[in-house]
Every structure is written in structure tokens, then in C-alpha cells.
Symmetry: C2
Subunit: 400 residues, 2 copies
């Protein structure tokens, strides 16, 4: 396949703290973009295309790039990053990218971009981390819930998800319930390089989406009611979906991943205090595990229209702290979890009331299971003999 490149000079220079943000959005501008890069100086953007652009495409790409850059950069100010924990210099023993070896050993197989099956090594390691997260949940006597992977589109609409994260939404559908449509599909559907040959009008109007997070299900289960006892601590693990287009990469950024959450619903102090207690308890756990990481303030990956306002808001009110594990092989970090506080956003939106009639506050602690396992392997390698003792011993109970 031949690549074609074009370079665009943004009208506003992109400040260093927004270079990553702009780059991640380039993947969503046009279906012909295979890759987008921003020069470190923020003064040039390179797009790799799947065809030679004609003047119309060139001009459309130029205009889309300028729209995105202007929306993100104009009036933006650098968020003050607050670092709560810095254990990045904890000793690690591995320096390579674990993915090639995992693929070679058959411990991981790639089904599609951002979609992987995992074998015994990763499955056992993830079970170990799940055990630790369940230990955290138990320390709060969290009540277990089981949530579906599908979530009604009207739920997501009701919590403003459409405008905040339209780019990463995943939708579910089925064939129209019509014998002619189903027969035609059964007899003639084929799957080529770009997907199914089936015309989109054979599919039913979309009513369901794939959950982007676990905790929404709980808030909807509690909606339009007074919170029994005034507070809830719940825990659940679930399949989550964030479509990241050409940003999907390795095990670091999956379309389809698994998240364990511990969720707090109640008065403001209850939520804030529990979020802090959870962080302190996980600090001890990460020390035992030997993970090199930091915890710092962050924001969600809002889409272009909402980014500047929402990200600044999250940052100013310290609503989100990310656990970022070190990836030695690329001298970088990967978000493997977060401590979140949503104020009374869901309480107001969904009418979750406290006994005194005021809207409930919510917060959650969330861990990405595939990501933490990947970061762990990136720090300690694939041989369990080289793993920190706490992990090695828990996974081999016979070993002394």
C-alpha cells in the first residue's frame, strides 16, 4: 500500500501541553487519514493518507485541521498538573516492549485493530490484579453488581455523552427484523477488506450502545429515587469500549477493554473521603506489587467542541487523578487507573437524591485490567521468576 503525505501549517502554534491532544484528534478528521503527527514545536502537522489527495480533499483537510487546532488552542492555558504520588523511579527489571514476545509465544493474538485475545500468562496476571482490586472493594464492604455491556443510547444522551465524547462511541445494531433482509444477508453477505458488503439500510435503527464505563449503569439503577440509607459503595467489573480510530495501538489502547470500578454515591464528604482512602490503600498495594508509577491530575479525552471548557473545569476542581504506570521501553507512562469525583453531576442529571432532598454526589476508582497487566509486563518482563515477590508468590502458592 502506498502512502501519501501532506503537511499543514496551523494558523495557531500548538503549545507543548496540547500537542498530544491535537495529535489524538487528527485520527477523527477524515476517513482517508491513516496517521497524523504534530511537530514537537507545534508549528507543522503531517497527515499520512491512503490516497493521493485531489485539490478538493486537500482543501477540506486543511480546513478541518485549522478548525480543530483553533478550537483546542485558542484561549487555552496550561493546566497546573498536581502530582500526588511519584514512584516513577522505583526499580524495574525489564526494558523491552512485551508485545512482540507475547505475540510470538501465542500468549496474545490480535483479532483486529485494538481487539486482542489473551492466553494463560496475561489471564492469570489479570486475575491477580483483580484479586487486589476486589480486596480494595472489600475494604469498603462494597456491594457487588453485574452490569450489561449494552447500554441504551437514551441513557448516554441523558448524561451528555453525545456532545462530550462522540468520536469514541461504539454502537450496537442487528439486522432489521424482516425476512427478506435476513434472507438476503444469509445468502449473500460477504466480508471484504473494509467490512461487510451489507448496505447500512439493512441494519436496524440504533437504540443501543456499548458501555464506555461501568459506573453509568449504577447511576441509572439509582435514578429518580432517594438513595437508600443515604450512601452506597458498589463494585463491578465490565467490558468497556472506546473507539480510538488509528490511535488504537498495542495493548495500551484497546477498543474493547475491561474495567474494575469501586463506586461511591452519597454526600460530598463521603465521596471525597472515600476516594482519598481508596488512593491511600492503593498506594500500599502498588508498593507491594513494586509498580513504578505516578498519580497526577488529569482530564478526560473530551471531543474538540467540549475539550477546552471541560478539561479546564476538571483540572481546576481536581475531579480526576490518573494512575500512570511507567513504560520503560518507550520512556513514557500509561494511564492504568483513575480516582474520579463527578460532584453532583449524575445526582442532578438522574435525580438521585439524598435523604435531605439534595442531589447525591458520585465518585469512582477505576482500573484498566489489560493496561495494568501490560504495564507490569513492560516493567518486569514475561518470566514470573523475575517478578516482585508479592506477585510471584500469589500466583504460585506452592512457592515459599
Amino acid at each position: 500500500m502506498t502512502d501519501f503525505q501532506i503537511e499543514i501549517v496551523p494558523e495557531l502554534t500548538i503549545p507543548p501541553f496540547l500537542v498530544g491532544e491535537v495529535k489524538s484528534k487528527l485520527a477523527y478528521l477524515d476517513e482517508h487519514i491513516r496517521q497524523g503527527e504534530v511537530a514537537p514545536a507545534g508549528d507543522r502537522i503531517l497527515l499520512v493518507l491512503d490516497l493521493e489527495p485531489d485539490p478538493a480533499l486537500r482543501s477540506s483537510l486543511e480546513s478541518k485541521v485549522q478548525r480543530v487546532v483553533t478550537a483546542l488552542v485558542k484561549g487555552a492555558f496550561k493546566p497546573k498538573v498536581q502530582v500526588l504520588e511519584d514512584c516513577l523511579d522505583r526499580p524495574v527489571t525489564y526494558g523491552r516492549d512485551p508485545l512482540p514476545e507475547l505475540l510470538e509465544r501465542g500468549e496474545v493474538s490480535q483479532e483486529a485493530n485494538g481487539v486482542f485475545a489473551m492466553g494463560p500468562l496475561l489471564s492469570r496476571l489479570i486475575n491477580y490484579f483483580e484479586g487486589r482490586f476486589l480486596g480494595l472493594a472489600d475494604s469498603f464492604a462494597a456491594r457487588p453488581y453485574r452490569f450489561p455491556t449494552l447500554i441504551p443510547a437514551r441513557y448516554m444522551d441523558r448524561v451528555n455523552y453525545f456532545s462530550a465524547f462522540p468520536h469514541s462511541l461504539s454502537f450496537a445494531t442487528h439486522l432489521r427484523t424482516d425476512l427478506d433482509v435476513i434472507d438476503e444477508f444469509a445468502s449473500h453477505a460477504t466480508c471484504g477488506e473494509h467490512g461487510l458488503s451489507t448496505p447500512m439500510e439493512s441494519f436496524s435503527q440504533i437504540e443501543m450502545m456499548l458501555s464506555p464505563a461501568v459506573c453509568y449503569h449504577l447511576y441509572f439503577a439509582l435514578a429518580d429515587k432517594t438513595l437508600p440509607g443515604g450512601q452506597v459503595v458498589a463494585t463491578a467489573v465490565g467490558n468497556c469500549f472506546r473507539f480510538e480510530s488509528s490511535n488504537l495501538a498495542s495493548l495500551e489502547r484497546l477498543w474493547n477493554f475491561t474495567m474494575r470500578e469501586v463506586i461511591f454515591v452519597g454526600a460530598k464528604d463521603f465521596v471525597m473521603q472515600n476516594r482519598e482512602t481508596a488512593r491511600q490503600r492503593m498506594k500500599d498495594t502498588f508498593q507491594e506489587i513494586g509498580l513504578a508509577y505516578k498519580v497526577e491530575s488529569a482530564n478526560d479525552p473530551f471531543f474538540i467542541g467540549e475539550f477546552r471548557k471541560q478539561a479546564a473545569f476538571q483540572s481546576a476542581f481536581q475531579l480526576k487523578y490518573e494512575i500512570r504506570a511507567r513504560l520503560p521501553f518507550k520512556d513514557s507512562t500509561l494511564a492504568v487507573g483513575s480516582y474520579n469525583y463527578h460532584q453532583d453531576f449524575f445526582g442532578r442529571r438522574l435525580n438521585i437524591s439524598l435523604p435531605d432532598g439534595s442531589p447525591a454526589h458520585t465518585g469512582c476508582v477505576a482500573f484498566g485490567l489489560e493496561r495494568i497487566a501490560f504495564a507490569f509486563l513492560a516493567q518486569f518482563g514475561l518470566d514470573p521468576q523475575g517478578w516482585p515477590a508479592a506477585v510471584r508468590q500469589a500466583m504460585n502458592p506452592e512457592e515459599s
Copy 2:
């Protein structure tokens, strides 16, 4: 909402053993069908519609019904049902439908047709059953795997799923990666009674589906290779999806459910023997649990075009045995699991070779977690004090 009904006399009388099969297919004939019934004598079909049918719709429905009935009935013969275990008369203590009380207590909440969130009671009960199924997996030293919920459409095409089960397929998509499409959605998408207002051409051509079963992922991970050591026993739990249109009902028939599988890949005898050993071991487990159930030969819910041939084939070769738990409140049974043998279908299709070069045989034991928990509650009620001792004690370890 007003209902309109029409009655159709099938050209061929439907024999009793096909009444349920024909009824289940009526839901897929036309989008205006809200419910379909077959008279027990098999000589009349009643369709409930969401509008008053004009002559064109009447004639189209008549012709679709005749197509379905003829395809299923013509030349069909009654399969000989082989019963391997019959413990239906085991004493149970409950006789009501558990769903209304689960909903009333907030232990279950319905998000959409066939999509439910579950609270602590069901979550703990499902964890208990998961523990038992994991015990079965451990007894075979099964290797743990983790599979995604998404599965490439081309995978499903390669194993003939499009023609066998087109009606129940679920598809995943995302917005086209085009700034204009995403902006338009972010600003204007709304969700009405029939789903999203968004036109289908805003969505990307479909490349991914939602897994209908767990074991396919393993077969694809082993595809085009020689099986290391000549045999594999694996286990995984996963989200599975079967769209059942208006057949979706209660917790018995979910669009989105969870399946635990133990999977055998190897020579014919290895697979057949392990399937039988698994059944014997589960027989003891079900006795301890106190479940009233039977195990009998069955077939998969193939679509109309494939049904007669495939179902007869599965039945003749004893490829599928279902575990059917008693539902006392409706004097009926519910499939809560199955023992399956696929001969060398996947081995041939996907080039999974044994060391001697012949195609591998495969089989799996599968349990529907929500279904077995629902059947258990239907037999023993919502109060753990009334549950069989093995379950009650495992869930309350303090209790003597």
C-alpha cells in the same frame, strides 16, 4: 398503543415438535410484528401488529409466514430426544416467578428489552456458580483465557455463521471518522422512541460483531497452526449476544448474557471423553446444589434456511446436549448450559491440525450464568435461608 391482529392458516399443518420453532421465527418476519403465536394444533398462526395492515402488508405477511412454515415443516421428521439425566422431580421450595420481586427490591433493573443490571443477591449467586464452574475447569487443569467481546465479522463469515444464525447476530459500529459527521452528531443527535435520529450513513461500514459465544475466539487463536502437544483444554468467561427480537423475555432470554465455557481441542476420543467426564462431574455438582433439571439432546436455533438440515444433523450425531432447569412457576424448563461436540468442523474450517496432520476435533461445555441463577431463584426463592445447604453455606462462610 392499539394492537391489530391477523390470523393466517398455514398451508402445511405444523407438527407439535415444531410449534415452538415456528413461533420463535415469527418475531423476525416483519418489523410490524409485535408478537406471534402458533395454535397448539399447528393449524393457525396469530400475528399481533403495531398498525392496521393494508392489503399489501397482509399479503406480504401471508407469504412470509407460508415461506417459513414450508421451509421448517416440509419433509421434517420428529427428532428422537435422548434423555441422559432426569432430575426434574428433585424437590424445590418455590413456585413464583422471581422477576417481579427482584425488580421490586431493586435487585434487578431493566435497561432495555433483554438488557438488565443485577444487584448484590444475583451477583453473589452468580459468583457462587462461577466458582463451581471454575472448579470443573480446574479438574481438567484448563488454561485460562480472556477474550474480547468484539469479534471480526470476517471470523464469523469464515465459520458459516452468517447463513446459520443471521437473525440473532449483533453488529458493532462507530461514527465515520469524519469531523463533519462527528460534529453533526455531537450537536444534533437525539434519541427517540425508535432509537437514534442519526441516519445510518453516518455510521462506519461494519467490520466488527458482538461475540455470540466464547469458544470461537479460542479456535481462531489456534487457527492455521499445528496444535501444540496435540490437545488443549481451555476455559474463559465472556459476554455473549443473541438478538432475539420480541422473543427477548425476562432474565430467561437476554440479548446480552454471560457464558462460562470449558473448551476441549484435540483428537476425537479426547474431546468426546472429556465432554462425558465433564457431564459426570457436573451431575454431582448439580446434585449438591439441589437443582431440578434434565439433560437431553437438542439442536442450536438455526435460521429458517438451515434449520431442517442442521438440526437433524446435530440430533442424529448427538452433537448437543442441553442442561434444562425446571421453572416451576411456568411448568416449563430453561436451557442453562450445554455439552457440545463440533466434530472436526472448526479444525477443518480454520486449519487447526493435530500432530499427525489431521484436523482437530473440538467440543465445549457452556453455562449461561444469568440463566442458571434465575432458574435457581425460580426453584428456591429469594431468601438465602431457604436455599439448599451447599449454596447457603458457601455464600455465608461464617454459618456452620
